[in-house]
Symmetry: C2
Subunit: 413 residues, 2 copies
Amino acid sequence: MQDIGAKAKAAARPLAMASPEQKNTALLAMADALDASKDAILAANALDMQAGQEAGLAPSFLDRLLLNDDRIAAMAHGLRDVAGLKDPVGEVITEWDRPNGLHIERVRTPLGVIGVIYESRPNVTADAGALCLKAGNAVILRGGSDSVHSSRAIHASMVEGLKAAGLPETAIQLVPVTDRAAVGALLSGLGGTVDVIVPRGGKSLVARVQAEARVPVFSHLEGICHVYVDASADLEMAKKIVVNAKMRRTGICGSAETLLVDSAALGTHLQPLLEALTEAGCEVRASATVLKVLPFFKPAQEEDWRTEYLDAIISVAIVDGVGGAISHIAHYSSNHTEAVIAEDPAVVERFFNEVDSAIVLHNASTQFADGGEFGMGGEIGIATGKMHARGPVGVEQLTSFKYRVRGTGQIRP
Amino acid sequence: MQDIGAKAKAAARPLAMASPEQKNTALLAMADALDASKDAILAANALDMQAGQEAGLAPSFLDRLLLNDDRIAAMAHGLRDVAGLKDPVGEVITEWDRPNGLHIERVRTPLGVIGVIYESRPNVTADAGALCLKAGNAVILRGGSDSVHSSRAIHASMVEGLKAAGLPETAIQLVPVTDRAAVGALLSGLGGTVDVIVPRGGKSLVARVQAEARVPVFSHLEGICHVYVDASADLEMAKKIVVNAKMRRTGICGSAETLLVDSAALGTHLQPLLEALTEAGCEVRASATVLKVLPFFKPAQEEDWRTEYLDAIISVAIVDGVGGAISHIAHYSSNHTEAVIAEDPAVVERFFNEVDSAIVLHNASTQFADGGEFGMGGEIGIATGKMHARGPVGVEQLTSFKYRVRGTGQIRP
């Protein structure tokens, strides 16, 4: 592993200097290689799927593991999309002049070496590799043991693309899954060679990474996302958004887990909202106040407010206006994404100012919490920390910056 | 200490909501309180100075510890300067529209709770407290035991200012210096309450913080800053800049430690540059190649290239053009600040692109590596890491951000 770290650090320097054209040549060649290697990738994936079925893995896990023609085409398409993104390296973020004539620019630079630890989805091999490369970073990928053959086959196409562009093959390295100490070694930072770790997977993986990493981590442990419906909300809009926020896909981190309804909307909004959810096939777990009005739901326990169901279940509470919603969210939220449905602009501004989450939305579904939906052209993950990256982590968030100062002989008095 | 952390976290919420006016009221009241408490502060400082003299502290240490009328006035002036800075909180950093009509803003927010660990300089109590407050952060200050009375007296004025503005007194807390486990507790993050640590002091303090902190750190271990003089350099300008970069103040992190001279300038620039340095009272430690031409200097050892002298000493090497300078810097630099003196624009661009330090300068002194000189209105320190903050850490770098998304009923298909 120390050798892998040293190779990544050595690759980071030429990568940082690589031109946008050279990086895009690599990305497009990777996409072509993926298309051309479809049969080999499917064969590798069949080995993983067979082993997974024999090991009795859950159907949802097997679904994430599965590759088919469409999914391979989507990976190749994703690589071409990343090639089409604006190159962040060298971008002047801001510039200004000083009274003494110095001209100062803050310019984007690569971060260096990024470690990505992931579980079942083999497509992360291509997605994460591409985003790191675009931002001029070397990457060390550590996939799950269940997807080892698939990841290896995809990685071979990535290396082909690097070679085609004359970039170091070690710019994208895949850690042998047989090395059981690899995760711990990565989390230690490989002797100062790894600049940041991105975990992609379930809560237990992320929790381990957050607890053990000795380098910065871009991650979210879970997405306990809230939708607050104010008494001023347009009811039809609220129904549509709440159902979408919860039910469009229940297994993603931007899915809503708790609905907060304004006490002033008890007689107007509550029942239609819960009917809409129930009709959509969602189980409702209701607070005592909700049950007083609509007694036919399952009662919510304290732990329901802290639970990311990732399923067709929602907890529902009545709150005392936007202030009550803000307090509930401050207490229970994972600071990922929260939405306010309201027509009163004062309510929206207060929610926007006082809710301390990575993403706050007005009159829109929480399921927009996604780098692609934000127009970032993909994401390596979503971060709920406050350092460096917050919210969707795209190519721009995979960069650092430096200052370039241009003078004409200035000395400091 | 856990109690101090909880109080800071509780104070962070109202601070994040505080208006620019309220924070500026506090800062101006702090400045007035400092002026009004001058005699008490001087009396407290006299106690520290006496104890320091009795303990046989070094004269340079005692000079940093000393307060007088001018230094107290400068602290108060600094607070008023910070009040005059643009408030970063709520600033829209960037905004864009999506094809589906969503409007996305990235908006500055406070970081939360900042821990500052410092040594002899009691003025850090005021400077760091003010910058953290301006950015809407609570701060936990841990000053050195040698400056305990001075820091306590200054802190009293800071608390007066907070009270005058109706802000929580716990927004700026000073850790009792009697608590010897305080530094370790701060470095552990106080149970998740501390968002970032800023160490201000010597190399051993910074090294300990970097090694032990379980939260992000903004710091630089040392400033091994280089000046490269290209054959295309204007000789008079180069002499002026090299002497200023080394000798203006030798004890600051932006002071130059190594001079790199282009081998093509051996006959033109080398001797005049070393004469200028020698005339300014600087000791030269020369590489073997320099000694072949000018044999009367002390030879540099390998460790000289790795040494931050913080003194009137400079190491000098001959390099093979800008490529050689870049290689030397990549090998020995602490990634703080490096300057290129050249008239050839291709040389400057290559230096700017390939030198991976927080600050690169062209035709200007390395001693401009300072938040005040950058126009940031002060700095809490200088960072050489690549995460979040790099270079001078001012109020803007003491913030995070969140996304505000405004919709009109959008749901995700």
